[in-house]
């Protein structure tokens, strides 16, 4: 009897071993697939940034067409969260718990990202390149969270430094979105100006749902600022420029990389965007690098009809590049821990964004999880073209 039981156990074990289980038991990875997720606002006030998630999708299509990564196709799961943190959390949970996502990439917005950060980190799900430059991603640093977007605070410092040292301005004001995005810009501007013995001459908060920007423009005009930093959404930036123009107020406008899609902003502002100075965290869509040309070819082939080739769209490629690189470096032996190891080994990795470097996890060093720390400054000229004003600047 005992022999029979022993034989039956061996037979069962043998059967299970031969049942063709995938070689990896890691969530979101099979022999032929890697499941990657991203959210993005396709509707609502931040919908202009929805092209980030669509850009990433085209990059994955391009990779899959070439055979995937080490024989595995990327299965891309994306959903519209309408820039609503409650919808972000619901969508992420639903995909994570039903499909099983291996890693998340991008994801527009600080508030939507904050809604899911703890959930993903508790489950040890890697999240690469949140599409916002918030300090929350790195302070405190998280083992599975790799930020690449340069900090908004750093961008504000770069613009203030350029304004004071190169343009010789000394009356600087800021219109900032009344949330974490705006607060980071405000903080950076204050810190940099303090180094030059200056203070902001006006700080004007803008509510995300605000429709009438005339009082904000009036307040900026009243301050007599010679430079105004715009840490707001593109539609509010345009509305402020329009209201200021009607009031015959014409300071030097400066804005973040979130408003660096020059052809688009030039078009919707009916030319008012000409002369605006912004930071850039990656090559412009019309730059002629071989990688950007390859991405353009993928866009021509895979993008939906009517999709615009712009800065936000190409940012979707850039945000996913470190993940793709680390997946390549992992080889067939793919697990989340292995992915983290490979990401930590990235040093001066250059795709279409600035150089990206991470370091082994150190809970006392936020910068071990901040991949990109450099931006360059450019100016919008006629027809929405870009003139680069500086080389890559590394700002601490």
């Amino acid at each position: 009897m005992r022999t029979h039981i022993l034989l039956a156990s061996f037979a069962l074990f043998f059967l299970i071993a031969c049942m063709g289980f995938p070689a990896f038991a890691e969530e979101g990875v099979t022999d032929t697939e890697i499941h990657i997720g991203q959210w993005g606002p396709q509707t609502g006030p931040a919908a202009a940034w929805g092209s980030v998630a669509r850009g990433t999708g085209v990059l994955f299509e391009m990779i899959n067409e070439k055979g995937g990564i080490h024989g595995r196709k990327i299965i891309y799961h994306t959903f519209n969260d309408a820039y609503n943190p409650a919808q972000t959390l619901a969508g992420v949970k639903q995909l994570q718990e039903s499909v099983g996502i291996f890693a998340w990439v991008g994801g527009v917005g600080t508030a939507p990202g904050m809604a899911v950060k703890d959930y993903l980190m508790e489950r040890k799900v890697p999240w690469i390149s949140p599409a916002s430059g918030s300090m929350h991603w790195i302070d405190p640093p998280q083992k599975y969270l790799f930020a690449t977007y340069p900090l908004y605070k750093m961008e504000a410092k770069a613009l203030c430094r350029y304004s004071v040292e190169i343009l010789g301005k000394n009356r600087i004001a800021i219109a900032y979105q009344n949330d974490d995005y705006g607060a980071n810009g405000l903080k950076g501007a204050k810190e940099e100006l303090a180094k030059h013995g200056l203070t902001l001459v006006a700080q004007v908060p803008v509510d995300t749902g605000e429709g009438d920007l005339r009082p904000h423009a009036a307040k900026l005009k009243q301050s007599d600022a010679d430079t105004v930093l715009l840490w707001v959404a593109p539609k509010h930036a345009i509305a402020l420029l329009g209201a200021a123009k009607a009031m015959k107020y014409d300071p030097q406008w400066m804005s973040t990389s979130t408003c660096s899609d020059y052809p688009y902003l030039y078009d919707i502002s009916k030319g008012l965007w000409e002369g605006v100075i912004t930071t850039f965290f990656g090559d412009g869509p019309d730059s002629f690098g071989p990688l950007m040309r390859e991405y353009k070819a993928a866009y021509d082939k895979f993008a939906a009809p009517g999709e615009r080739w712009g800065t936000f769209f190409t940012a979707g490629f850039g945000f996913a590049e470190p993940l793709v690189e680390a997946l390549h470096r992992c080889g067939r032996d793919l697990s989340r821990e292995r992915l983290v190891e490979e990401l930590e080994k990235l040093q001066y990795f250059r795709g279409v964004m600035g150089r990206i470097s991470f370091a082994p996890f150190d809970p006392d060093d936020p910068m071990c999880r901040q991949g990109q720390t450099e931006v360059f400054i450019a100016k919008c000229v006629e027809d929405g073209d870009m003139v680069q004003l500086t080389d890559w600047l590394k700002i601490d």
Partner: protein, 284 residues
């Protein structure tokens, strides 16, 4: 102050549009903004894609707006008339989402540029302030619409029928009024006023979310003025515009937008029917 009046003009037209429907059917139409949105994007389509001259596009837009209002009343609201007031409000919220989704699907979420003959960047110096030509036009249109509606309700047969339907639908029906048609026309008229508001707002910002803030502020103005009074809605909208601008300038820009809704709470506590509304006493 002038900024507030300028902002209030945009809200006023939305407020009027909401009052027109509420006066007749006692439904707060939260789809008002998106009905206007559909008309604005239709106008954009025929101007941009079909190259129809502006002078012809405007009447076509007006016809389309009336058509949208009538169809929604006939196809949706009339079917749901047995619902409670709350149910009807939920229906309008559903319509709002559907219309916004359709516009986003058809035109995408990117901003568009409405080829409008009046620019919002040109301004005139008036009493120590700059007033844009677009604001001046919007202000004039608000008063023209209000005057037109006053004449319509007071002196035209259809206007009187609409008032009768509002005051006692059963009695109007017994007098031979085809109340269903009156309600349908009410929705069409309201949609037309909303379309005018949308077209005047589009040069400043044109994207699928553009009507949300004006609709909410217009609603706030209508509540402050009294949901059954057109002059009340206009007054309420100006009041909201001026108060939020003064609040933003002298108190806190951060809470500027919240002022409109704080005013609703205050008015509802002090005078629940609104400042300008009249009560109709019904015999039991």
């Amino acid at each position: 102050m002038l900024n507030g009046v300028a902002a209030g003009s945009g809200y006023a037209l939305m407020g009027i549009a909401m009052v027109i429907i509420y006066k007749t059917s006692e439904v707060v139409n939260f789809a008002q903004g998106e009905m206007a949105l559909a008309s604005v994007f239709f106008t954009y389509l025929i101007l941009q894609n079909y190259g129809i001259p502006f002078v012809y596009a405007m009447p076509l837009a007006a016809l389309f707006a009336v058509f949208v209002g009538c169809v929604l009343e006939f196809a949706v609201l009339r079917r749901a008339r047995r619902q409670t007031t709350l149910g009807m409000i939920i229906v309008t919220i559903g319509l709002e989402m559907i219309l916004m989704g359709l516009v986003s699907w058809k035109f995408g979420a990117d901003h568009k540029v409405m080829p409008f003959p009046i620019t919002e960047f040109d301004s005139i110096w008036l009493g120590g302030f700059y007033v844009t030509t677009l604001e001046a036009v919007t202000f004039s249109v608000v008063w023209a619409v209000m005057l037109g509606l006053f004449v319509f309700y007071r002196y035209t047969r259809l206007g009187l029928i609409m008032k009768a339907t509002q005051q006692n639908r059963s009695a109007a029906k017994l007098m031979g009024v085809r109340t269903n048609r009156v309600l349908m026309f009410t929705w069409g008229l309201s949609s037309l006023v909303g379309c005018i508001a949308g077209l005047l707002l589009a040069p400043r910002s044109m994207e699928p979310f553009m009507m949300w803030d004006p609709m909410l502020k217009g609603f706030a103005g209508a509540v402050v003025g009294g949901m059954t009074s057109i002059p009340g809605a206009v007054f309420g909208a100006y009041f909201i515009g001026v108060v939020e601008n003064l609040f933003g300038r002298y108190a806190s820009m951060e809470f500027k937008s919240a002022v409109a809704f704080a005013l609703i709470v205050i008015v509802l506590c002090v005078k629940p029917s609104g400042i300008f509304s009249r009560h109709y006493v019904k015999k039991v």
